[in-house]
Symmetry: C2
Subunit: 141 residues, 2 copies
DNA sequence: GCTTTTTTTGAAAAAATTTTTCAATTATTA
DNA sequence: TAATAATTGAAAAATTTTTTCAAAAAAAGC
């Protein structure tokens, strides 16, 4: 099932602006802000409005096609979401982002937290920050 | 070492607005936005400015006394940070927040991700969302 | 393919959030 | 206590996000 079908099934329409946002994110090497998506999207779709980018991101995120990346400083970066539950690893030098699966490894921890706090844990947000292989070779900033 | 000493050692001054922000967060049952901190802080400190709250939060966060909580929807909530590396568990019903230690449990996962991606992992953000014990008893919303 | 219905869009305006500026005030240091 | 350097509040500016609304476009029905 491709993204258009996923969006369709969720009741959303396939439109040029949404295609553009997906295309921009597919080409992106790092999470992009709505502004950045808008600027890049305009190359494909001259009249694309910024408000429409916000609306497209909201829909695509709700459907699970796009993921919002929360960083310490800024939390307005978006990237494509792989289907399934993934986590994110961001390079603090170049912004490059990699997804990884890691839910199983958290199960023990979550069970322990549930026992200790009485909470029923339903979801989690795990993001790692580091330096990617190419950036490790470069002169420290 | 109390928070005033920690801030002092980091070169920051102990001022009424900063005391107010700390007092508000100490009393808070859930992460608060800068606006909320400002509104509550004014009860103690009539002339407190919103810009000053932003500035105080930035300093206190840099020093590690305050933690920014990133949630899916909003990522402008702040709470007091316990010294050391803690994680956060938020109740999605009432907003109540609990901290827990969990770094060790992530070590295996992190080592595995480093092997798989070539990144050197330096930091991580882990937050759990669930329902706290009291809210589990209530009628589902 | 055409028409109808409903969603989505772009532009502008509005609202909300965050940052900057700057003179006055306050905390620290000597 | 005086000197100094950081911090403050208020207002303005900048930025980000949301709303409004008529026009355009997508999906569904015929």
């Amino acid at each position: 099932m491709d993204w258009e079908e996923r969006l369709s099934r969720a009741g959303g329409r396939i439109t040029a602006p949404r295609r553009t946002v997906m295309a921009v994110l597919r080409r992106a090497a790092r999470p992009l802000t709505p502004q950045e998506i808008h600027a890049r999207g305009r190359r494909f779709h001259r009249s694309l409005g910024l408000a429409t980018v916000y609306r497209a991101l909201a829909v695509l995120e709700r459907v699970g096609l796009v993921r919002r990346v929360h960083l310490a400083a800024r939390c307005d970066g978006y990237m494509l979401a792989s289907p399934g539950h993934y986590h994110v690893l961001v390079c603090r030098r170049c912004g490059r982002t990699v997804e990884f699966v890691g839910a199983e490894d958290l199960e023990g921890l979550i069970a322990q937290v549930e026992r200790g706090t009485g909470f029923r844990v339903e979801d989690h947000l795990l993001q790692l920050v580091g330096v990617c292989a190419p950036c490790q070779g470069e002169r420290p900033s």
